[in-house]
């Protein structure tokens, strides 16, 4: 009889206690955010998509060298013979391990995987894997002058490449011509 009454009292007491706990949780503010509309505040040192501070980067290529999966593709060009400017700085996130080595090795501490204001990008969801090869320069956003320089360099390169291709084609065409003439000659010879 005593156990019986104690069970009744216990069940009431524990239920009320449990409801108090949930009530406390009810009053606590939400810990989740509406993700696509609101960005999640990320802790410092979070490993997301890289950002490059092009102003202090010294173009030492250390990051590309240390990368264990060789996913950093970088190329720098001299602009107007005075300063180096990045032409290509791509990171292929199909390969990247987020191992943090490129960040640690950087002598100028200018490549990061967390944006220091906590707005690091981390969503890599896509239905096209080729889009995962990100251009870090564009991604971060260069200063206006740098952007102009990069565009200029790229245009020049494209022109150069086109000229090269053209020259090669001409050369090839010339070679082909020579060859065919040779053949003709040979044919003539054999005909004689």
């Amino acid at each position: 009889m005593f156990t019986y009454m104690r069970n009744v009292v216990d069940s009431l007491r524990t239920t009320v206690k449990g409801m108090q706990v949930t009530w406390k949780n009810l009053r606590r503010p939400e810990t989740t955010v509406e993700y696509p509309e609101q960005l999640v505040p990320l802790p410092e040192g979070y490993r997301g998509i890289h950002t490059l501070d092009t102003d202090i980067c010294i173009y030492c290529f250390q990051c590309a060298k240390i990368c264990p999966v060789d996913c950093i593709e970088m190329r720098a060009e001299r602009v107007e013979k005075k300063f180096l400017s990045w032409e290509v700085f791509n990171i292929d996130y199909n390969k990247c391990l987020f191992c943090d080595l490129c960040i640690e090795v950087c002598p100028k501490d200018c490549i990061h995987m967390d944006k220091r204001d906590g707005s690091a990008k981390f969503a890599l969801i896509t239905d096209d894997r080729s889009t995962l090869n990100l251009d870090i320069l564009e991604y971060k956003g260069l200063s206006e002058a740098d952007k102009v320089a990069v565009v200029k360099v790229r245009e020049e390169n494209a022109k150069k490449a086109a000229e090269k291709a053209k020259a090669a084609a001409e050369k090839k065409a010339a070679a082909d011509k020579d060859e065919s003439e040779d053949k003709k000659d040979k044919a003539d010879d054999s005909g004689k």
């Binding site: 069970n7 009744v8 069940s11 239920t15 449990g18 409801m19 706990v21 949930t22 009530w23 949780n25 009810l26 606590r28 503010p29 939400e30 810990t31 989740t32 955010v33 509406e34």
Partner: protein, 366 residues
């Protein structure tokens, strides 16, 4: 059949049929809209209890249209019937389960004198008709030809049959005080006042919950047993999703599945509003101070208060659901047979003696 229907009876057969159809339409409309709100409330409340946000997107304000979107999605889903199922039973089971919850609505007064049928056995009718839902659930479990469904159905049958005893006994206790089974009269008893009462007056009895210690205990027993009656946690064994794969509706999909869902939420509302009417003074906002609810405007306000109380009780059910873990089968049976039933009997006896020796007036008996 008195009030609403009775007034139209004199107009002939067609008018009578029309009025019946109208009443059915009103109930059906409410039954369609209420779960939309209740499911949204449940989602938001559970999110709050877990420090989440819950639905936020559909419809703009806090995802209030989310349930409608889900309902439309359910309606367009493929309606699968297992090859080995008993097709006829499988088809009609959701309808039977739904009717049980649906039919109870006709005797519920929403404000003073506003009810579809003023049955003199109101509470008895609700208790009797709500058991029809059990038959629907058992039919569903049996017809699915699935062991989980069958387990769910058997659990449902065992649980509902055993909890019907304490729920009926606990509803008997206020009836001893009132001496009438009409729901309207039970509310009338709680707000009965002096003959020459003005707009605001001190009622003789107050809410039945505070009428005597026995009715207070009865209220608690009713609430616990009603949780079991509408298969809510911690008594949600028939549809235990983690152990029985949703129990009796494992095999149901699409619109038929949504009927079971509607039934559950409508039944939650029914037990809550009956609790509000019987124990919490119906449309009277305060325990011992009553107001005159006789003109249309006041009736509208009264209906709002009653609905508010019902929603509050539903919210408490949700609160409990997100607080307590599910009980084991033997614990549910122990609770029903060893605790609630004897306690309800004791309370009933106590209340009877209280009424006999106490100086309270029992209308209709003394």
């Amino acid at each position: 059949m008195e009030r609403l229907v009775g007034a139209l009876e004199g107009l002939g057969e067609s008018a009578f049929a029309l009025s019946l159809l109208m009443c059915a339409g009103v109930v059906l409309g409410f039954v369609g809209i209420w779960p939309l709100f209740a499911v949204w409330l449940e989602r938001k409340a559970s999110a709050d209890f877990q420090s989440r946000l819950g639905p936020m997107y559909v419809g703009g304000f806090h995802g209030w249209l989310q349930t409608l979107a889900d309902g439309i999605k359910l309606a367009f889903k493929e309606d699968l019937i297992p090859a080995q199922a008993n097709r006829v039973l499988f088809w009609i089971a959701p309808a039977v389960a739904f009717c049980g919850a649906f039919a109870t609505m006709v005797v519920i007064p929403i404000a003073q004198g506003v009810e579809i049928v003023n049955l003199d056995i109101g509470i008895f009718f609700i208790l009797a008709i709500s058991s029809v839902g059990t038959i629907g659930v058992v039919m569903a479990g049996w017809a699915s030809n699935n062991k989980w469904s069958l387990y769910g159905a058997v659990r449902e049958a065992a649980q509902l049959v055993s909890y019907e005893i304490p729920i009926a006994l606990s509803l008997m206790i206020p009836i001893i005080a009132v001496g009438n089974l009409r729901l309207g009269h039970i509310v009338g008893f709680q707000c009965a006042g002096p003959e020459d009462a003005g707009f605001v007056y001190l009622s003789h009895h107050g809410w039945l919950l505070f009428y005597s210690p026995w009715t207070l205990a009865a209220g608690l027993i009713y609430f616990v047993a009603s949780l079991a009656e509408c298969k809510r946690a911690p008594f949600d064994l028939p549809e235990a999703e983690s152990e029985l794969v949703s129990g009796f509706h494992t095999e149901y999909s699409g619109l038929r599945f949504s009927f079971f869902f509607l039934e559950e939420y409508v039944f939650m509302f029914v037990v809550s509003i009956v609790g509000a009417l019987v124990f919490l003074g119906g449309w009277q906002p305060l325990p011992f101070v009553s107001f005159q609810f006789d003109n249309p405007l006041m009736k509208l306000i009264g209906a709002g208060i009653l609905l508010g109380k019902a929603v509050f009780l539903v919210w408490v059910q949700i609160w409990l659901r997100w607080t307590l873990p599910r009980l084991r089968v033997d614990q549910v049976m122990t609770m029903g047979y060893k605790y609630l039933t004897p306690l309800a009997m004791l309370t009933l006896m106590g209340m009877a003696l209280y009424q006999y020796w106490g100086c309270r007036y029992i209308p209709g008996i003394l």
